[in-house]
Symmetry: C3
Subunit: 344 residues, 3 copies
């Protein structure tokens, strides 16, 4: 399998996501922190995914993070949890050269895309990477195709994910538990592109391996098109709830048209190995504010909660949102009784 | 936020559900008991939801029920578990004045509808109600809208729910555990209205905070259009199974047309914070009888089971159904061996 | 209810599935073993389900298997776990004469199809079978029908299942735990028929009551249309993951057309009482190989894993697949370190 002989092409084609990942990586754990320091400009005219059929070549570095965690990063020393958000359009190929800088066997295994047995990422298929070694994995994608009868074969488009499948066990149980996971989006040509993207992983009793109040604060401006990529890992059942925003429970989170039969939800099962994604217009119909996200399994709801901050259109933070953020950081673990004042 | 200055309008527009809730409240725990004492007349011509765009104003009383439970009710002393079933049509607004008659902090938090931070119902957003106080919450709704590309933004229509978000913890864990929850339906204009409605909440190891044989018996007449609103709460995984009836796993439970790709199910995950609803024609294709509903997680299936009674068309109870009801009440917890007699 | 007075008709109409079941039964536990000894010929022109409206009459024998298990079989001594895969087309009727050869009360209860109270299979409805006795159950099916408004009533088509509802408790908890379950498919006229069918049941911490490395190996040839029927039972949450293959999360696993909004998945919740099915083209876009299936709940992933073998087009087994099979059988429970050699 080829190495990175056309890295600039790859960088161009996946730049948005990869840059997002790199920015986040600069200040671990910084997916939200990095974003909150740079509110986006007003939304642009809608952009949509274009088919290119090209091959994206990237290098991922699997690294230890401190004494207890591991992560994937796009450059040495930049590993994050979750790893960089990877993105393709149906028809694209991605070649990932995985550099294992750790002293443990590990790998990368994707969901949703095509790969042959040599890119499976499992010890079972002899496709893990030993300590200190390097291996290239190839993922391909395809569009939906007319099939027999009236049935079509599904394409690769989806909100997927990737994760270790070899550290500590043949299923990567320890690698996943310690942070070796990330989001993978495959878009269909014409899919609407977001202004911002947030990856949220419910991994046992954590969000992105953090617990409240250290969970990520996702930061957007009123009216921005925000994309959430939600991934479940570990051993426990979870349900992802986002306050004041809802989405269609289908491929994109938006309806295909006025007769799309999909349910609309604001709470969804997020169990191990599952993933879904959706786009919302930040604060649409509800205004700016600090909105909670949390696991709705009640005994998870304290440690597994965090903030989706929707700023005013000018990028400033509403007073009530700042109060909520302060409350979350100051009083999160108790039944604080002094914060309720707006009785009608 | 305004108080009930137009209660009669609100009563008219939400009367069906609210009356159902009030009737049930008269004899707690009486959702089924009340219904079973008054079998409906033969189904009428189909009625459908009409858009009004009006504001419904109601007052909810949060009360202690005995020493260990809490409930919401539409009048003092009428709290029920679940609380009254609330209903809107896309475009409607609901203003809920919540009177906290208890000595605990509590609130109301809805799923699916729009609300600003002051109506979030969370301590985090300073929108709970202290003991003895009153607060007005405003919920708004919207229809689906054409969006960018070929994508539509989902409207508010759905089988949603509301619950406490403040009693005992910042997530209302104790309030929910003790009964502060209810159903909330938002219909799309043109949606078919049911003849009867039953709210069923799997809340930890209970159904509507009851265990068999004290779980609700839902009572309908052969051919009636019956709407189930199913809600999950607490800490455990559940799967809701209804014998002899099935529904489409989509927004309404019915198919949008002959090419609707939705799966048809008779067993569905019902995990914390999730909700779904569907309509069935009572006894359609299977006849009158006492049909079980239960959680299909096997070690939940004894305590979390109950009866959906489908009467004969004339409102009488078939002999075999009465025998099953008696069996359920007399022998539920054992592996009774004397009731099997119809071997072929 | 009538006995088998037209068995030959029944055999013709359900022969494919019933023969598959019988073949598997010859060498318990042999769903995969039997299949792997007889790779299919190259796929034929597509076949589709035809409506017949006929009545299929079969006899099922419920039997003890060894000292700790039970199963259903189509002939004495041929019980399997799971039981025979039963198949209907919307409009068909199935009459099942259940012969209870055991010394325990048991029954058969279907999901998805229509039945009156006498065929419910529950002690609650007095429709179990005592030790040594026989009972006939009747299941009917219907197509989707135009309903009120724009809504259609769903038909019976689906990937369903059947199971005991009486052994050891009124919910058949012990019967299910010990193997009394099987798949039931109801097709819509025109649905595409598969080349091969595999039933996979996640039953507590087992796959078809087996744990790795004794779990079934599903065996197909590159390009075959393979149908999986996945069923959940017991007390635990599970998520079914299949490597290198994906399907639409809708009724059939294929898209109804290019605008079908269904998500595409390769990992799906499979909780107690739930079932789903899908068809994949074996090795499509990924080539032949030994592909893992497993529960993605991490602490289930070792015991609840197995192999989907995709042979070369000529029916031979690729070397890398044989190595993976050997690895699975020889080193499954450890973190074998000597099998990773193909570093890039």
């Amino acid at each position: 399998m080829a190495d990175n002989h056309a890295p600039s092409t790859a960088r161009n084609l996946t730049r948005r996501s990869i840059l997002a990942g790199a920015a986040a990586g600069a200040a671990f754990p910084a997916v939200a922190t990095a974003a909150s320091s740079a509110p986006a400009a007003a939304p642009q005219a809608e952009r949509t995914a274009r088919a290119s059929g090209k091959t994206h070549r990237i290098t991922l570095y699997a690294e230890a993070i401190g004494d207890t965690l591991y992560g994937y990063g796009l450059a040495p020393g930049e590993a994050t949890i979750p790893g960089p958000l990877l993105e393709m359009v149906e028809g694209d190929t991605m070649e990932i050269t995985l550099v294992n800088t750790t002293d443990r066997r590990l790998s990368i295994h994707p969901h949703g895309v095509n790969y042959d047995v040599h890119s499976d990422g499992s010890p079972f298929n002899a496709s893990a990477v030993e300590a200190g070694e390097t291996r290239t994995y190839v993922w391909t994608t395809t569009g939906q195709r007319s099939g027999p009868g009236r049935m079509w074969l599904p394409g690769s488009a989806g909100y997927w994910h990737y994760h270790d499948h070899a550290l500590g066990s043949d299923h990567g149980t320890e690698g996943i538990q310690k942070g070796l996971y990330g989001g993978l989006i495959v878009r269909r040509k014409g899919d609407v592109l977001p202004d911002k993207q947030f990856t949220i992983v419910f991994n046992d009793m954590t969000v992105n391996n953090k617990t409240a109040p250290d969970t990520p604060m996702f930061d957007a401006v009123l009216g921005e098109r925000v994309e959430f990529i939600a991934i479940g890992h570990g051993n426990m059942e979870h349900t992802f709830h986002l306050h004041a925003h809802r989405w269609a429970d289908n491929r994109t989170g938006m309806l295909e048209g006025p007769n799309d039969p999909s349910p609309v939800v604001d709470n969804k099962d997020l169990n191990p190995g599952n993933s879904f994604g959706f786009q919302v217009i930040a604060g649409d119909g509800v205004g700016p504010g600090a909105w909670m996200y949390h696991c709705h399994v009640q005994f998870h709801s304290d440690p597994m909660s965090g903030i989706f901050l929707v700023r005013n259109e000018d990028g400033s933070i509403p007073d009530h949102a700042q109060e909520a953020i302060d409350y979350f950081h100051g009083h999160h673990h108790g039944g604080h009784e002094g914060h309720e004042g707006h009785s009608g």
